[in-house]
Symmetry: C2
Subunit: 297 residues, 2 copies
DNA sequence: AGCTCTTATGAATCATTGA
DNA sequence: GTCAATGATTCATAAGAGC
């Protein structure tokens, strides 16, 4: 069965919304990707779930997610435990163990390496520049389209570098965009390889650059910062779905997942408890749709 | 109390060795850094501890480690759970929870991003290119010398050196006659910033390049590859200890921790169960000592 | 000595085969 | 069936040979 409506955002508490079986029939979603509220964050909307209560709060939601996900689908959760009392909290670890008891397979943990992380200075730690992207599935075999996220081959193609003189180095450093850059990028495009499980979006261009640039200029929303950037859901969508598949984000926020889905010609479904976020998400997605029509076709 | 001997490697099972109180008095070690055998690895030496038994096996060891670590010391464990039956194993998660019950504070989880990870291609996952470096302490306040691991920053420098191996880097600067060499010296004196909690040794050079290069040429051991490269223990040593401090590796292997300690003028202690590894570790450390005398002084 | 090119090999994982 | 051993797959680095 298919959901009775797709490409829609429902306002409400996702535990309740997900239980509506005509809207969310079993085995109907190809990919669930979300960044749930972290413990003690988003206090206004979700009442600031404490770390001690986090697993208890999440399990009814993940039970519904398990029901509605296709047997060959994937569930990707972007999360990072915050620090409390000088220690990393343990609720993410406990959540992984509990999800396994619920029937989920903990297939992989991707590392999202974000170099431009939040600023700050503490005496007992450095800035946190990575987050977990937990990959759960219902079965050992699931849909995975690895070719769609291939990246240019690594820099060991520096045989190219070695043939260069010191002059070339200096010119590269001083000159902004010399022919050096173009040559190398040409060379690199000759061969593509599979990526690994650290997502480093600053170095690699997983979204087609032209699409990305056009889009960035077309819809720039500085008012609110997304929980995750467009690249993150886009990467997993390309990896685990094909065009026309249905992708769900039960904590839709300002609609980043929906925007990525539209750009990649997938169908989205979203749930969001905050009315303000719902409005903004709908608006953002509308902008993306308009952009796709005008610029890409 | 101080250990009755330092700069020594004991052969034996570390659970038993650590209990010898004259050799390992309580509150006597400044930093414990180790990469314990991963589950089902190193079968010949450690009997291949299975994931199900891993926590049970490790807890008696960590109990002794807690006893001998100074109250302001740190315990850094490099580990990564492997895949079994298509899923990531959970023994590392369980170990973290159990260590907390034992009294340890789980202060931080650093991510070691290793780009030269094992090759391979599978239908359900990509290559694993990161490992956990779990940071445990006995107290909220502990010794941390953040300034000692600051990294040079520069708009061009990072981009420039990203694609160079240490060897290239060293070779390049050693030709100081060139203009490029002078540029590099400038780079070394540039403004420095604090790193973050992703260790990315390809991009940053945490060991002084000259030391690094001289050493690489002086002692190259092909026979055995270290579990972790010299940079990893070096980085944590600089961060959590000062010259003259005592550093313990209860799973010494071929002595990488000891080599780093000698290079950084710290004292080391090690335990290793394999006689062959003990010999090689002693030999490696001897080489480093000789190197330090001849090349650096 | 310095550069180019070749070759070997990693804390891996999965499917298949054989006991 | 269950478990163990083997082969296939793959990318980046470093050592070694040759000029």
């Amino acid at each position: 069965m298919r959901p009775n409506q797709i490409n829609i955002i429902y306002k409400g508490d996702c535990a309740k919304r997900l239980a509506e079986e005509t809207r969310f029939p079993k085995n109907s979603i190809d990919l669930i990707i979300t960044s749930p509220p972290y413990a003690d964050r988003r206090k206004t909307t979700y009442g600031g779930i404490h770390g001690d209560k986090y697993v208890e709060w999440f399990l009814p939601i993940s039970k519904e997610l398990y029901r509605i996900l296709k047997t060959n689908g994937s569930f990707v959760m972007n999360i990072k435990e915050n620090v409390e009392g000088g220690e990393r909290q343990t609720y993410v670890l406990e959540l992984i163990l509990s999800l396994k008891e619920q029937g989920w397979l903990w297939t992989e943990e991707y590392c999202w390496y974000k170099k431009n992380c939040h600023p700050g200075k503490w005496i007992n730690r450095f800035r946190d520049s990575w987050e977990r992207c937990l990959h759960f599935t219902k079965n050992k075999r699931f849909k995975m389209y690895q070719d769609s996220v291939k990246v240019p081959i690594g820099d060991w193609s520096k045989r190219r570098f070695k043939s260069m003189t010191n002059k070339d180095f200096v010119r590269t450093i001083s000159g902004t965009k010399s022919k050096f850059g173009r040559n190398v990028s040409n060379w690199l495009n000759k061969r593509k390889v599979y990526p690994h499980n650290v997502l480093d979006f600053e170095n690699e261009h997983y979204i087609e650059p032209t699409t990305m640039v056009h889009f960035a200029t077309a819809c720039s929303n500085r008012n609110h910062s997304a929980a995750f950037p467009l690249e993150l859901p886009s990467w997993f969508m390309k990896l685990f779905t094909r065009k026309g598949d249905i992708i769900l984000d039960p904590f839709m926020g300002i609609g980043t997942t929906g925007m990525a889905a539209v750009l990649l010609e997938r169908n989205y479904m979203g749930i969001e408890i905050s009315g303000e976020y719902v409005r903004e998400a709908r608006n953002n997605i509308k902008k993306v749709k308009r952009f796709r029509k005008t610029k890409l076709h």
